[in-house]
């Protein structure tokens, strides 16, 4: 009935060794998971509304967005393909992705190819200094423009 001392010690040693093995394996993953990343800011200004004349679609490739202006309404559509993250290019019919052939209309709705979701639209606000501010952390329903 009683567990012998030797057995007991064997158990403790065994559990200790296996446990520390598992812990050190896990700690490797903790180690290689960065705590902070230094990417581009997700909120940024893209200049005055006048830079985007009515009826234009201007792709800001560095920011991976496309600024769409229709009359006095303005919006920012993502240009990162929802399939595997390539940058979609402007096409006559909207956007086209060079990597696996996804196609989107000018609102970002998928019209062909493997992309699983439409291109997201980002929140856009007019800062007090008159510049347009895009917030890539906040997605809004496609089709909702900011009226200037």
């Amino acid at each position: 009935m009683a567990v012998s001392r030797r057995r007991m010690l064997a158990w403790i040693t065994g559990t200790g060794l296996v446990g520390s093995g598992v812990l050190s394996a896990i700690s490797n993953f903790v180690f290689i998971k960065p705590r902070a990343t230094y990417g581009q800011p997700q909120r940024f200004s893209i200049g005055k509304p006048d830079d985007y004349p009515a009826g234009t679609r201007i792709a800001l490739d560095a920011r991976r967005i496309c600024v769409v202006r229709e009359g006095n309404r303005i919006a920012a559509v993502s240009t990162t393909c929802t399939h595997l993250g390539c940058i979609v290019g402007l096409a006559d019919t909207g956007f086209a992705c060079p990597c696996h052939g996804s196609r989107f209309d000018s609102d970002g709705t998928v019209t062909g190819g493997p992309a699983p979701r439409p291109l997201p639209w980002y929140k856009i606000t007019l800062a007090p200094n008159g510049e347009i501010e895009v917030d890539k952390d906040t997605e809004i329903t496609p089709g909702s423009y900011l009226t200037l």
Partner: protein
């Protein structure tokens, strides 16, 4: 000085120095008889991985095509050229591409080293796949070689990972967009996908952190794992009784010689050992069962064929490296993927599948494929048809395998020749 007559004089020692150093390095002279031939492989560390004698079937070029050896030699070429390239490479987004140009312009042998590294890598992917086909089509994954087959599949995956982590390093357009797409595919894996993607990139976009990570994986982590797996793979070949061969390749010992039928104490060694290794090496030449066998001494038969394969492999790589330059695309432009953005040929099948569905093409189908490969020896338990190419007994298994293979080849061909800008279907003529 008269005391020194017992030991040879300094002068003699100096005179005999070269000979003595040589003898301390190599314990045996070049062999002239069977005893010495066995000792040669038995006492040399590097040859010791080989058996003293090998089966004649193993040496038939038309059986193995030397594919396993070629993969190994390509790996060695990759290690050597890779280490040399490390002297001039900096894993930094601002320097990596310039370093590539330096290799071309101002480093002696830079171009040829890079070419050799690139073409050996392509070659290794191709040859490892062909080796897998050889092993499958000759039924060599069957008992007792199940685990070595599993290891082999792991080695294939490691080879692909090595090449995938390798092509981020030049930091050209191919590198950047391939890794963007590749890590995004990993992101589609269920549950852990997003974490894996984040760990691989060390951030949320491909940048400096990703480059450093892929570099460490490429030059330290994966080579270490690969080397260890190769070592076990080779060791298992010995332990599994050498390469597979058809059942009729070995003469069966006459019944009265086997003699164990009446033995009341069955030994686990019965039926495995046909001669005493120690007896063979230390002499006298005793065989346990004095039966005819189909083996030949490794020295010189096996070693010479290995040397031949090595020289041929090196020669082909050298010629390719002299004739064709490894491509280097435009420097990374994070704003514009090239159009069409194509992966290297061996990943184009995957890219083609991914263009139908990211999950199924990138995770689902490859996952099922690898799973089936790993399970093959545990699903196909029939011991028949080992050691023969396209054996009739293995018609079903071979057909399934070839179908998968052909599908993949077709996808690669479509991806290579029939896809144009925006991944639209084009005809190459």
């Amino acid at each position: 000085m008269s005391k020194e007559t017992a030991s040879p004089s300094l002068l003699t020692a100096v005179k005999e120095l070269p000979g003595n150093v040589w003898k301390s390095l190599f314990r045996n002279p070049l062999p002239t008889n069977d005893l010495e031939r066995s000792s040669t492989s038995f006492t040399n560390f590097f040859l010791h991985i080989h058996p003293v004698k090998v089966h004649k079937n193993t040496l038939r070029p038309s059986y193995t095509l030397g594919l396993g050896l070629i993969s190994f030699f390509l790996f060695m070429i990759l290690v050597v050229t890779g280490i040399l390239l490390m002297f001039y490479y900096v894993p930094s987004t601002t320097q990596a591409y310039d370093r590539m140009l330096d290799l071309r312009g101002s480093v002696a042998f830079g171009t040829i080293l890079r070419n050799m590294h690139r073409w050996s890598a392509h070659g290794m992917v191709a040859v490892v796949v062909m080796h897998l086909c050889r092993v499958f089509l000759t039924g060599s994954y069957k008992k007792p070689r199940e685990f070595n087959w599993v290891l082999g599949v792991v080695l294939l995956l490691l080879t692909l990972l090595m090449s995938f982590t390798g092509y981020l390093l030049p930091w050209d357009q191919l590198a950047f967009w391939a890794i963007t797409v590749g890590t995004a595919i990993a992101g589609y894996a269920p549950i852990v996908g997003k974490d894996i993607q984040f760990l691989l990139m060390g951030g949320s976009t491909v940048g400096q952190e990703a480059l450093l990570r892929f570099y460490v994986l490429h030059v330290a982590v994966l080579p270490a794992v690969l080397t260890l797996s190769i070592a076990i793979h080779f060791w298992r070949i010995r332990k599994d009784g050498g390469l597979s061969r058809p059942a009729d390749a070995d003469p069966t010992p006459p019944m009265e010689m086997a003699g164990s039928a009446a033995d009341p104490r069955p030994s686990t060694l019965d039926g495995k050992k046909t001669y005493g290794l120690q007896g063979l090496v230390r002499g006298p030449l005793t065989k346990v069962n004095n039966i005819p066998d189909n083996t030949v001494f490794s020295w010189p038969n096996l070693f010479m064929s290995e040397l031949f394969v090595f020289v041929m492999t090196l020669a082909v790589v050298l010629v390719l490296a002299l004739l064709f330059n490894a491509p280097l695309e435009e420097p990374v432009n994070v704003m514009h993927p090239p159009n069409p953005a194509k992966a290297p040929w061996y990943f184009l099948g995957l890219q083609e599948m991914v263009s139908y569905s990211a999950f199924w093409g990138g995770i689902g189908v490859p996952g099922i494929f690898v799973g089936l490969l790993l399970l093959t020896p545990y699903l196909d338990r029939s011991p028949k048809g080992v050691g023969k190419w396209f054996s009739r007994d293995r018609l079903l298994a071979n057909t399934i395998f070839l179908t998968f293979l052909l599908a993949n080849v077709i996808f690669v061909i479509i991806g290579t020749f029939f896809r144009g800008p925006n991944w639209a279907f084009v005809t190459p003529w």
